[in-house]
Amino acid sequence: MNRDTIKKREISGRIKVDRDKCIGCLGCMSACIVSHDGHSPRNRVVISSDKVSSPIFCQNCDLPECTYTCMCGAMHIDPATGFVLYDADQCGSCYMCVMGCPYGVLRMNKIDGKISKCDMCVSDRNGQPQCVDRCPMGAIAVERGVQA
């Protein structure tokens, strides 16, 4: 399946990362935890072999492997926003999505066995991704109005 030949969906925004600006302060991870009731962060910052801080974020893919691998319908494209959202109640904790995510951003939550998945802070009272708001370097931004 080629990304260029598929009919793209409307999406309200996507996180864009400028790795060169990242100083590895982990503020985005803290913001994510705070924004989601203290649960595990849904993003992370890792160090590459060349010692470069690299923020890894859900990309709300055009070809979302997590939705293709989900056998319960928990991972789904929200028709209103175009975001790939996750329904923990529908989730069967089979971890096929963790296996499918090519960026390796999905993790299992040890407390309840569910998945930690970016929801673009649709559940946050500020209504926009808090990792972006809290990044002191402007390394993380939302690309708005993307018709991907």
Partner: protein, 407 residues
């Protein structure tokens, strides 16, 4: 345009959804034996009572109306006439089409080599769809059913065992290979599952086959005989050792079959114009994500937008039984000594193994915490050279491939 889809599971419904996305005005009809939409991969949750019928629905309760689909459920297609572009149903009616998608899936294969397996009048079931699950649930709830034998310790068989634990019955699991889930796991990764099921009272017989079922006068199963000659009591015999594609209704249609089932190419095309295929009916890659993708791909090509399957990496799975999660990719064992095998384990039950050669990972097992492990799937699928990575392979992540692939 009239699109007709046979089958209402992973491939068929994803095709229907994609067709609607591509053509808001198309007439889309689905024919299925299934009367309820259900995910065949979580039937064990239904057995356990952890999930009800509605909970098995994987597309949402209002899918059919939302997507404006015409769904004829509980019907059986008996014939395809590609000359007239119509299919015949068991009730004698016919349904015409402009484009046809064959996504009829597969069924339990009841092996011919086991004496009395096909002759048994009762007590023999597969574990493939909701009808099977309902029948098993009902039988397992009866007092006169005390002994249950599951044949085949692959993912489906282990699902069945896992789902039956709470019924308080004597469960035996019989597998011809040396250990549980042998296609996914090495002996080390199999151990926690074998131990957990043993603790739960499941008798496990590995490296042996069922040779015969002993029936009573009424044809009900009473015992199962193993290759060693041992007979184990059996009131319910569940066959989970293999599947066969549902291609019987294609006989005489001129639609070509391959070695394993329906033959279709990377665009979902069969040998007949306007007839497409997707999912388990091919008998090739009987895993959920393959069926989903093939359904999507077929839909694109049905509306004349060429989209090709590029992901042929289908030997992958995750599992979560008895609170132990495992991801298995590619080969569970090294093919020969020319490969490097790296192992990492700790006291908390985390076990990782990566098999590689010349910078190419060919197999990986991750057990315990699977977090972030998806990167390994990508590295194997795309045959990405990992030799340049300076950190341990177990620590590999997207940072070393930043911006190199986009989904």
């Amino acid at each position: 345009m009239r699109h007709l889809i046979i089958g209402a599971s992973a491939a068929g419904l994803n095709a229907a959804k994609t067709l609607r996305h591509l053509d808001p005005n198309a007439e889309i009809t689905i024919l299925s034996k299934d009367e309820v939409i259900h995910s065949r991969c979580v039937l064990h949750h239904y057995l356990k009572g952890k999930r009800d019928l509605a909970g098995l629905n994987f597309v949402g309760q209002d899918f059919i109306t939302e997507q404006k689909l015409n769904w004829k459920k509980g019907v059986q297609v008996t014939k395809v006439d590609t000359g007239k572009s119509e299919v015949a149903l068991a009730d004698g009616s016919v349904v015409g089409y402009d484009k046809l998608l064959l996504a009829a899936g597969s069924s339990t294969a009841f092996p011919a080599g086991i004496k009395n397996l096909r002759e048994a009048k009762s007590g023999v079931l597969g574990f493939r769809n909701i009808n099977d699950a309902q029948a098993i649930k009902e039988l397992a709830g009866q007092a006169n059913v005390q002994n249950i034998v599951v044949m085949g310790a692959g993912l489906v068989g282990v699902d069945a065992v896992d789902g039956l634990l709470g019924f308080g019955k004597n469960i035996s699991l019989v597998e011809s290979f040396s250990h549980i889930l042998n296609r996914q796991l090495d002996m080390r990764a199999a151990r926690p599952y074998e131990q957990a099921f043993a603790m739960a009272g499941v008798k496990q017989y590995y490296g042996t086959k069922i040779t015969e079922l002993v029936l009573d006068d009424a044809g009900a199963v009473k015992q199962a005989e193993l290759g060693s000659g041992i007979r184990i009591p059996c009131d319910l015999f569940i066959v989970t050792s293999g599947i066969k594609p549902n291609v019987g209704f294609l006989e005489g249609s001129g639609i070509a079959l391959g070695q394993t089932g329906l033959d279709f190419d990377g665009y979902g095309k069969t040998n007949i114009e306007n007839v497409f295929g997707a999912g388990d009916i091919s008998g090739r890659s009987p895993i959920w994500p393959a069926a989903v993708k093939e359904g999507i791909i077929a839909a694109y090509n049905m509306v004349g937008r060429p989209l090709e399957q590029t992901d042929f990496f289908a030997s992958k799975a995750t599992m979560n039984f008895q609170s132990v999660a495992t991801m298995s990719l590619g080969l569970p064992e090294s093919p020969d000594d020319s490969y490097t095998v790296e192992v990492d384990e700790d006291q908390a039950g985390n076990y990782k193994k990566i098999i590689h050669k010349n910078g190419e990972i060919v197999g990986a097992i991750v057990q315990g915490d699977l977090s972030y492990a998806g990167i390994l799937t990508q590295l194997i699928r795309e045959k990405i050279d990992v030799s340049k990575i300076k950190k341990p392979l177990f620590k590999v992540d997207y940072s070393d491939f930043f911006g190199e692939f986009v989904f």
